[in-house]
């Protein structure tokens, strides 16, 4: 016989049947069911196979600690593996599948592992698969992984959305059981901002399945009245289906709220899960206690269940565990289950009480065996009988259900997330959290309190103290003090003499003998035993098993559990979905996209874009008939050098610098002089790091005595801004200087080529002739007959006569259009960053390919830029170091193949002519390279030992990745127009 639904009772809506499937089989449950209770109602006790031995496993608990009833929920992208059936709220259309079985959970070929179990003990992997070493990755591991394991993740994308948010409160109450409700009510009445969070779909905790009477009220009425009052208080928020999973610094708690995990028809406009970060002034941990399993032979056969869970299923969901139930208890709570079973008209075949004294009072029908043990449970896929040992010969009793209770362990995980260690209490026979924790108080059975009345009183009392500490003195406890009359039993860690496997950790198939083996082989330390046996690993992290394992290790080592101690509690309390952790940061929201104000202009001109960091930059502008990117780039380069081109340079970092000390500040930031830069002039600046290496470069213009405009490279825009702020605020707070990033405020357009002046003059109202506006001029200009003001800079990266025009971002596209229109008769073309790159290499201009964190100014031929007269600038002191002045430093040089028909790649190494590749023979490397349509050859910039002294030397360019050797010659890095005639044209 198996479990079934009783015809009356429970907190169920019997008018609302819910259809679902398990392993494809249609089943029906009721509103108020969990998946676990619905399976039990359908007589389905066998719900999974165990991790290692593939043993049949049933539902063991009714909560978060469930180690067996792990199922895969949902289909396609909504597939969610390893879900605890005990926490899944049943809904219509739910599909669930069992795991770790083939071909089915009822007939599983993997169960052959059970026959091999003598060879599969703790440490078996380490011992067996030692040799040959190469077999581990290729043969052993894949086989083991296939045979053992839990659910399988899906490869399909998750169609649902998730979100993250913050919440703030005076008092966070974790757990809506008796203590939590009492605390929330006390705080709510006092006017505190309260958040009450509970993992269940219905708040109430143990009150949901309690048959006891409190004062003159039933537990159910007490719950209903308390919830009604809490709901009426505007300062109290109740978060159901919300698991507080971690306690973090600053009294911030992490919680995950299940928003739409209880429906098959997900509203796409709402998240399915929500991560809360709750900043609480104080918190009360009322997470309750976990019942301890008993370790006897066959304690994992479907039909064996925790006594409290059996009682919860009976009272909450009207589930009868079977026809004949045996209770095995080391605690009073087994009797409560027995009493409720009998009250429901079910037969309790025996109460086996491990304590010699037996119960304090028992008035039921069932026979009690005090001082007895269940030594072995028998049955295959379902329990059939139990063997009871009481002195003399063992007695066998038929039973199809067995409830076990080894006592209770406070759930203190959260209290230990910030480094506190649990403390063993002999009086409570349990590990407790330290009594005082800053910002957190533990209440109710989580604090080791036993009886219901005492838990209510404890929650109310601790809320009162917490609120008084927060300055809310007008507080009175919602429940009167009560004495805890609970008798704590001596723990029973395991039953001796079991014939079957006695499991300690169900989820990892760790049994009694494994822990003994760990101790005898020298792995008796709790952390070592965990790794050696896997006890306490996987999705439940030993919520049920750790305490018994510690007790067993303690006995084997002949010490107290206090000496064994616990493994470390870390967030998360229960597993979290990757979806919830990812939140909204997926797909196009994974990172922001930055688009230049000229993005649409570039797009309509046919640009191909390239991602550089977050930016999309126009790479090249293919014309009809061009089939390769090189064709487009070559054309753009040749056209700029012959006529003119227009390029979007808006992505460069732009920083406005103000203040009467701005010039002095820049003088300290750059290695070259800026103090006397005249108003209306731009200057190329080199910014060093404090260790002397070049950090960034760019032009900075003086627009006014106390107003400068700095440009940085695209990549380092944010870093330079942070650097400037650090220097101004932390190093030299006495300087009067302020910054504003204006990268996004300006559209900046480079117009380059011999005809650029002609074209721009049609838009710029002022005279921009060479005499009126020479090289490195920088000034505000009037545009289009006074309709717009912009900034014009005569600077050049291409080496051509060139300008950069900045206009307010919103006018960028219109001005770019106007330049294109004006340039049409002159053959203007748009060009992208590829052509820009070719032209700068032709001119020997460096970028971050060369400024790669290993070069100082002299390495790039900038030795003369480094001021010898300035008393101080960032990087000055370290430039004088021995290694910085060594003459064999890698220095900038040009390189080109001897035969223009041959080529080489960036990153290739330079070898002396005829030298074999080796570290000793390495002369440097190619930092940038491209095909130059002006030279008709590949050209490159390289960093080479003694570089500038080796112009004309024949070398070998070596690419080990492709095993290519190219004969080449070192030369000046300026390949094109070395006299800068075009620049000044």
């Amino acid at each position: 016989m198996s479990s079934f639904r009783l015809s009356k009772g429970g907190r169920l809506d019997r008018t609302k049947p819910l259809d679902f499937t398990f392993d494809g089989k249609p089943m029906q449950g009721l509103a108020g069911d969990t998946l676990a209770s619905a399976l039990l109602a359908n007589g389905r006790q066998l719900v999974g196979r165990s991790f290692k031995y593939h043993r049949p496993r049933g539902i063991l608990t009714a909560g978060a600690a469930e180690p067996n009833a792990l199922v895969t929920i949902g289909e396609g992208g909504r597939t969610e593996a390893n879900t605890r059936a005990t926490l899944v709220e049943l809904y219509s259309g739910l599909t669930a599948r069992s795991q770790n079985r083939w071909p089915s959970v009822d007939f599983d070929l993997g169960a052959v592992n059970s026959l091999l179990s003598p060879f599969l003990g703790a440490g078996f992997y380490y011992k067996t698969f030692m040799w040959p070493a190469a077999f581990w990755e290729k043969v052993y591991e894949p086989i083991i992984r296939k045979a053992a394991g839990l659910g399988r993740a899906t490869y399909e994308p998750d169609p649902d959305s998730y979100e993250k948010c913050w919440a703030h409160c005076d008092l966070l109450v974790i757990g809506a059981g008796p203590a939590g409700l009492a605390a929330a009510l006390t705080a709510g009445r006092a006017g505190a901002r309260v958040i009450l969070a509970d993992e269940g779909f219905e708040p109430g905790g143990s009150l949901l399945s309690e048959t006891a009477v409190v004062g003159d009220k039933s537990a159910g009425d007490l719950l209903a009245q308390t919830l009604a009052e809490l709901t009426s208080l505007p300062n109290v928020r109740i978060f159901s289906r919300t698991t507080v999973f971690g306690w973090y610094d600053g009294n911030v708690f992490g919680a995950v709220e299940s928003v739409q995990k209880n429906t098959a028809t997900v509203d796409p406009n709402r998240p399915v899960e929500r991560i809360w970060r709750i900043a609480a002034k104080h918190a009360i941990l009322a997470s309750g206690a976990e019942e301890r399993p008993l370790v006897f032979g066959g304690n994992d056969i479907p039909g064996v269940m925790m006594a409290g869970a059996m009682r919860s299923y009976l009272n909450r969901q009207a589930i009868a565990p079977g026809k004949e139930t045996v209770i095995f208890t080391n605690d009073e709570s087994g009797y409560r289950t027995a009493a409720d079973l009998e009250a429901a008209g079910l037969e309790v075949a025996a109460i086996v009480d491990a304590r010699a004294s037996g119960a304090s009072s028992w008035s039921g029908r069932a026979p009690v065996f005090p001082g007895a043990m269940v030594q072995d449970a028998k049955g295959g896929k379902a329990l059939t009988s139990v063997t009871i040992l009481k002195g003399g010969a063992p007695v066998t009793i038929n039973a199809d259900a067995l409830a076990m209770s080894g006592g209770w362990s406070p759930i203190i995980h959260l209290a230990c997330h910030r480094g506190a260690r649990p403390v063993w209490s002999d009086a409570k026979a349990a590990f407790l959290a330290p009594e005082t924790l800053d910002g957190l108080t533990i209440a109710g059975s989580a604090a080791g309190v036993g009886s219901l009345e005492a838990c209510l009183a404890d929650g109310a009392g601790k809320a009162t103290s917490a609120l008084q500490a927060l300055g809310l003195s007008n507080t009175s406890a919602a429940f009167a003090p009560a004495t805890d009359t609970t008798i704590v039993s001596k723990p029973l860690w395991y039953v001796r003499g079991a014939k079957g496997k006695a499991f300690v950790d169900y989820q990892n198939d760790v049994h009694l003998k494994d822990l003994g083996l760990a101790v005898s082989e020298g792995y008796g330390h709790v952390e070592l035993a965990k790794r050696y046996t896997t006890n306490g690993m996987a999705t439940d992290q030993g919520k049920l098993s750790n305490i018994n394992a510690i007790g067993i290790l303690a006995e084997a080592r002949k010490v107290s559990p206090a000496d064994v101690g616990t493994t470390t509690f870390r967030p998360f309390y229960t597993p979290l979905s990757f979806g919830a952790l990812t939140g909204a940061s997926k797909g196009k929201h994974f990172q922001p996209v930055r688009k230049s104000p000229l993005h649409d202009w570039a797009k309509k001109n046919g640009a191909v874009f390239v991602e550089t960091g977050l930016w999309y930059r126009s790479s090249w502008f293919p014309k009809a008939g061009e089939t390769t990117w090189r064709e487009s780039v070559d054309r753009e380069v040749l056209n700029v050098r012959k006529n003119a081109g227009i390029c979007d340079v808006s992505t460069l970092g732009k920083i406005e610098i103000f203040g009467k000390d701005a010039a002095e500040f820049l003088n300290r930031i750059y290695c070259n002089a800026f103090l006397k830069l005249p108003v209306g002039k731009a200057r190329y600046g080199l910014m060093l790091r404090e260790d002397g290496m070049i950090y960034d470069d760019g032009t900075t213009s003086r627009l006014d005595e106390s107003h400068f405009f700095m440009t940085t490279t695209t990549a380092y825009a944010a870093g330079v801004m942070n650097h400037l702020e650090f220097c101004a605020q932390a190093l030299w707070p006495d300087l009067d200087v302020q910054f504003a990033s204006s990268t996004d405020q300006w559209a900046q357009i480079a117009v380059a080529g011999p005809k650029s002046r002609m074209i721009l003059q049609t838009l710029v109202d002022e005279d921009i002739s060479d005499a009126a506006f020479p090289f490195l001029g920088a000034k505000e200009v009037s545009l289009c007959g006074g309709t717009l003001t912009g900034r014009l800079f005569r600077i050049s990266f291409s080496g051509e006569l060139a300008y950069e025009l900045a206009v307010p971002a919103g006018y960028g596209e219109a001005i770019a259009d106007a330049i294109m229109e004006a340039g049409k008769p002159h053959g203007i073309c748009p060009y992208g960053v590829e052509a820009l790159g070719v032209m700068r290499i032709e001119k020997g201009h460096v970028t971050h390919s060369e400024i790669n964190g290993t070069v100082i100014p002299s390495d790039l031929g900038f030795a003369k830029m480094v001021s010898a007269t300035k008393p101080d600038f960032i990087g000055k002191a370290m430039l004088a170091r021995e290694g910085m002045v060594a003459d064999d430093r890698l220095s900038l040089v040009g390189v080109k193949p001897l035969d223009p028909a041959t080529t080489f790649k960036t990153g290739s190494h330079i070898l002396s002519d005829g030298a074999t590749p080796s570290l000793e023979n390495d002369q440097g490397y190619v930092s940038s390279s491209c095909y130059s349509p002006n030279l008709g050859s590949t050209i490159g910039l390289a960093l080479v030992k003694h570089g500038p002294k080796r112009h004309g030397e024949h070398v070998t360019v070596w690419n080990d990745l492709k095993n290519e050797y190219t004969k080449a010659v070192l030369c000046s890095p300026v390949f094109f127009d070395p006299e800068n005639g075009k620049l000044h044209g």
Binding site: W166, G250, A279, R418, G419, N722, E725, A730
Partner: protein, 90 residues
């Protein structure tokens, strides 16, 4: 790492808004200081157990550089001050 940093300008803000630079207990040497002083400033860092002062930048907030004094063991934050005011508080 602390979850919340009490910025003296913006109030308590989540740590994700900040960027940590490192030890704020070091002082930039005078330009003519000896090489070993500069070497220590640029490269040598203590890794204290306990109280530690660090430069934190409120990058996604007021963009001020702050000195956060915190405990590297307990993560408790003892004080947060503006770096420009260091001379007044140190």
């Amino acid at each position: 790492m602390a979850s919340l940093i009490a910025c003296p300008h913006c109030g308590p803000r989540p740590k994700e808004e900040f960027t940590v630079r490192g030890d704020a207990g070091i002082t930039r040497p005078a330009p003519d200081a000896r090489e070993d002083a500069w070497y220590a400033y640029v490269y040598l860092r203590d890794n204290p157990r306990g109280r530690h002062k660090e430069h934190w930048h409120h990058t996604s907030g007021c963009r001020r550089w702050l000195i956060v004094e915190r405990d590297t063991v307990t993560h408790a934050v003892y004080a947060v001050t503006d770096a420009a005011a260091q001379g007044e508080t140190a």
